[in-house]
């Protein structure tokens, strides 16, 4: 059973196509993210689901029923806005009761429901506070509570963590995931931050220029990207342009621009007869030292970037390329200026045709 289904949805503004033939469905109770750079059309897509825009083509179904004819205030999808849009002239309790009042719930029930939802988001007893008295994280939870009290079919979240500082953002990621488990409601989350999408989601759709490039579980996107855009956008990668010299056993021999030659596996869909490619190698796929198989390059250590478990060695090859190599907690013991060999296994380097989607 799908809670939300979009069928070939297209939206144009004048001659600009913001959302281009997008289809997807979200299974009940799952956490689904749409990940893409700003301007890729993800906000427009979400506004169409909420009813603030009308698609030019295609259909949007909630619990199997088309909602295109429903006004925004008649759809049972609730939305957490980018800047939360909590009503500053009302108390926390009034904010949460707002939707219940609009729905015409009995006065006697409203108080109980407000208290219950505040308990569930872990903020009991704040209903008489003003919005301005809350911290950033608390506001976040109130914005979610305000929607969840209405028991929506789908909860839309429009980059709600964007305005928070880094520490709080990391914390809220985990908390959002827990809230989603607790409410067992379908969450549709849009963001430009790949780590938010990867950490929280059951499924992620990567969106670029109005289209979905790939939909899948985070691990799948990370390990088996179907396009250069996905490989570059999801997670860190070394990225080099080059030309395919020849193919052998499904492995491409690529001459990189500016020298060096590497082995790479063509990504899903193959290369066709495309010779111009981009090669992607994740820093953690590269290790220090020579390897028996795969690819080995030599260079010197340009600089060491210490960042705890995310530490990196920057290696400059003989032809002047800078390569990021993972160096967990800086244990490799190399120094700046040292001569060094690095290698990776052939299947950990992926190549995609340049310019192709």
């Amino acid at each position: 059973m799908y809670d939300l289904r979009c069928d070939s949805v297209t939206k144009r503004f004048g001659s600009f196509t913001a959302v281009n033939n997008v289809s997807f469905d979200i299974p009940s109770g799952s956490f689904f993210s749409i990940l893409g750079p700003s301007g890729c059309g993800k906000t427009t897509l979400m506004r169409m689901i909420a009813g603030f825009e009308n698609p030019d083509q295609g259909d949007i179904l909630i619990k199997g029923r088309s909602v295109l004819k429903d006004a925004p205030n008649k759809r049972n999808v609730k939305m957490v806005f980018q800047h939360l849009a909590l009503f500053p002239m009302m108390t926390v309790g009034e904010n949460i009761a707002y939707g219940l009042r609009c729905r015409g719930d009995a006065k006697s029930e409203i108080g109980g429901k407000v208290n219950a939802v505040l308990d569930r988001v872990g903020l009991p007893g704040v209903e008489d506070k003003q919005i301005s008295q809350l911290s950033g994280g608390q506001k976040q939870r109130i914005a979610i509570a305000r929607c969840m009290v209405l028991e929506p079919d789908v909860l839309l979240l429009d980059e709600p963590l964007g305005a928070l500082d880094l520490k709080l953002r990391e914390h809220m990621k985990i908390e959002l995931k827990q809230l989603q488990h607790q409410f067992e409601t379908t969450f549709l989350y849009i963001t430009h931050d790949q780590s938010e999408a990867l950490v929280m989601s059951d499924n992620v759709a990567v969106m670029n220029a109005g289209r979905f490039e790939q939909i899948g579980p985070p691990k799948d996107l990370y390990e088996n990207p179907v396009s250069g855009f996905v490989a570059g956008f999801v997670g860190d990668s070394n990225r080099w342009g080059g030309r395919v010299d020849r193919m052998s056993d499904g492995t491409a021999h690529v001459a990189l621009d500016g020298g060096d030659s590497v082995l790479a596996t063509p990504g899903a869909g193959g290369l066709g007869d495309n010779r111009e490619v981009e090669v992607f190698v994740r820093p953690e796929a590269i290790s220090v030292g020579r390897g028996a198989e795969g690819c080995t390059l030599s260079g010197t250590v340009d600089s060491l970037l210490f960042n705890g478990a995310n530490s990196r060695i920057l290696v400059r090859t003989g032809t002047g390329k800078l390569i990021e190599v993972a160096d967990q907690a800086g244990v490799s013991g190399v120094n700046e200026g040292d001569a060094i060999d690095i290698h990776w296994q052939g299947h950990r380097a992926l190549c995609f045709g340049k310019g192709a989607a």
């Binding site: 707002y98 609009c102 209405l150």
Partner: protein
Amino acid sequence: MAQANKSPFLTFVYRSYVTIFFLYLVAPLLAAGVFAFNDSLFPALPWQGFTLDWFFNDTEPKLGMFHDERLLRGLKNSVYIGVIVSALAVMAGTCNAFLFERKQFPFKNALYVLMVVPLVIPGVILGISLLVFASMIANGIDAATGVNVKWLRPGIPLIVLGQFSFLTTITSLVIAARLQKFDIALEEAALNLGASRSRVLTTVTLPFLFPALFSAFVVSFLVSFENFNTTLMLVGSDAPLTITMYDRVVKVGSTPVLNAVSVFLMIASGSLALLSVLIQRKKD
């Protein structure tokens, strides 16, 4: 702060200038105020002792303002006109604010200029033009049907229309400035939570605008209350307070009862203005 190499002498000169300026500002107000409390038949020196007779005494020749029938009637008319015209101007101003902040339509910029124009038309001209126009219509109706439309002749309805014509510009600008700061996502959030359009307006948008609506009302009321130029041309038998006072100054000459009225006006309008500032502060 933003001064290059402060010279104490220049700073002193500057400070003195500003002080003198503020003395210039308050001097006539003080002069008008002080003599309301002088126990004399003329608002002039010498000082004859403190009295409140010019406010509360009920017998001639020192008839206090609160027993002066004509002044009281003028005050009543002024309040009556002020409340009606301010309410109308706030309503029209709210519509204009929404029109210019939310809607797109042809010739928007030109129409916006037209909205601002009443502020730069001299009040006397607004008065005579409305007088002429209303009379033309009234004469036309009279000639065609023999009915004399009373409210198109000088009197309170025409004063209300005359003041409304420029107060609406002020209220529109005040309310539009606040509406511009409104985050449209709040309305979308309310819609998303299931509110109808009219409910969104009454529970989210209007409460947000309230401080601006209130201060637009107060400003309109005060400007209407003290308006002279436009009103002078449109006044009929029911004169508001400023016109009554002016008649008194011209015909009777100055008497301390006018000082008393001045004090009353200063206190009343001062506290109204202060109230509006406080409300504005609290809400922000």
